[in-house]
């Protein structure tokens, strides 16, 4: 299980740094990692319409905990916080059985052939749909490995997981992703 308690990690400082230094650091981290957090949230299943708001919430969490986060480990903190927020969005949507965000299913189902399915925005929609079908823990690892091109060792450190756990989740996530992709292509090919 991915640690969803980013707030409890990397606490080593009790004294808050000066305000100007904090703001400067926050600005730097925001500039460097905004895109990473936004796209991570999307890949973790946060709808496009909510992604910007949730991204701001992730950075707001960082701003509140900045004094507790070791310099250089902000990206890891942000990703774990993003996982936490995305999991919350998932739970909320599952409870409400949200019907106002059909973006994941529309494009793949309307493809007329495999080539159509793999073109541009439709490909992204398909990929989001495939990610949606992964176990959430597998997904958190899959995204970092396949899309952020991090190594398993780096992922293990970022998520504070044993390397074997990361390898296991990645293997099962990749298998599931490939299997679902083939199914989708087969359906589109037979259409």
């Amino acid at each position: 299980m991915v640690s969803l308690t980013a707030e409890k990690s990397e606490i080593d400082v009790a004294r808050a740094p000066p305000l100007d230094a904090s703001r400067s650091r926050l600005a730097r981290v925001l500039t460097e990692h905004y895109d990473f957090v936004w796209r991570s949230l999307r890949r973790l299943g946060v709808p496009e319409s909510d992604a910007e708001d949730v991204t701001q919430e992730v950075f707001m969490t960082l701003s509140k905990r900045l004094g507790d986060v070791v310099v250089g480990s902000e990206r890891a903190f942000l990703y774990r916080t993003a996982v936490h927020h995305a999991a919350h969005v998932h739970r909320t949507r599952a409870r409400r059985r949200e019907v106002t965000e059909p973006e994941f299913d529309e494009a793949p189902s309307s493809a007329r052939n495999p080539e159509d399915l793999l073109a541009g925005a439709r490909a992204r929609a398909l990929c989001h749909a495939l990610l949606e079908e992964l176990n959430f823990d597998q997904r958190a690892v899959f995204v970092l490995y396949e899309l952020e091109e991090m190594t398993m060792q780096e992922i293990a450190e970022m998520l504070e997981l044993p390397l074997g756990t990361v390898a296991s989740r990645l293997r099962r996530g990749r298998e599931a992703f490939e299997r679902r992709l083939k199914q989708r292509l087969a359906v589109a090919g037979g259409a």
Binding site: S24, T31, S49, G120, R124, C127
Partner: protein, 257 residues
């Protein structure tokens, strides 16, 4: 333990195409800037981005934002400072927010550019104030179900930014955050109640457009979709170019224009 070959480098062309397509996904234009403002680090972000040419970038930044950008920076800085220091936001006197805001009507060009960024596009009855009194000021107070906002272009008066403006905006942000938080807890009724409070306190609030979107969301989640849709249709009829149009349509299930 060896890393497996990634899909983007593997033999499966389909998987490669998907991975490539995913990497083209980007945040919407202006998202980083909006986050900088929300976090109160816009000026610092500009400096970070403009390594080596901070002065020019900053100048361009302020030019593009106009004076109203300064107002937002002030608010953002206030919120950001409060957050990062754990301080409590100081709410301004609530009896008459407009009285606290020495609003000047800017030249048309400045006002227009400022409006693009912050001025809610929803028509509203303005609260009476020495500087924005209008013949139609006798219109009824903002109804709970019709979030209305003053269409008057707003720009700060020349000179120092008055801190009460920042205070009132911080208060608006605070109230809206409360409504959003209620929505996140799946309490749309509470969110609507908070939005009503916001509308009472800021009948001509600068966050009116955002409040309107949150209200639509809350109405839909409360099972009042028809009401939300009617509000949305009315709003989009008068504001077809609203920056929130896509979100409003999605929330309420309205089709593309």
């Amino acid at each position: 333990m060896e890393d497996p070959v990634r899909f983007c480098d593997g033999a499966d062309e389909s998987a490669r195409q998907l991975m490539r397509a995913m990497r083209e996904e980007r945040p919407p234009a202006g998202a980083l800037r909006r986050a900088s403002l929300a976090l109160g680090v816009a000026a610092a972000s500009t400096a970070v981005t403009a390594t080596g040419s901070a002065t020019a970038a900053s100048s361009s930044f302020f030019q593009s934002l106009g004076w109203l950008g300064l107002k937002w920076l002030s608010v953002g800085a206030l919120v950001g400072a409060a957050v990062s220091t754990g301080a409590t936001l100081v709410a301004p006197p609530r009896s008459s927010p407009r009285e606290l805001e020495p609003v000047a009507h800017a030249p048309t060009a400045v006002a227009a550019s400022a409006q693009v960024m912050t001025q809610p596009e929803i028509e509203s009855p303005p609260a009476e104030s020495p500087t924005s009194a209008k013949p139609n000021a006798a219109r009824p107070p903002a109804a709970a179900a019709t979030q209305e906002v003053d269409p008057t272009p707003i720009a700060p008066s020349v000179g120092a930014l008055p801190s009460p403006v920042a205070d009132t905006l911080a208060r608006e942000v605070e109230l809206l955050d409360g409504a959003r938080e209620a929505l996140r807890r799946n309490s749309p009724g509470e969110a609507l109640s908070k939005l009503d409070g916001y509308a009472r306190e800021f009948p001509s609030g600068r966050m009116g457009a955002e409040a309107f979107v949150v209200r639509l969301d809350a109405l839909v989640r409360s099972g009042r979709s028809a009401e939300a849709r009617a509000l949305a249709e009315r709003h989009l009829a008068t504001n077809p170019a609203s920056p929130h149009a896509a979100k409003i349509r999605k929330l309420t299930g309205l089709g593309a224009p």
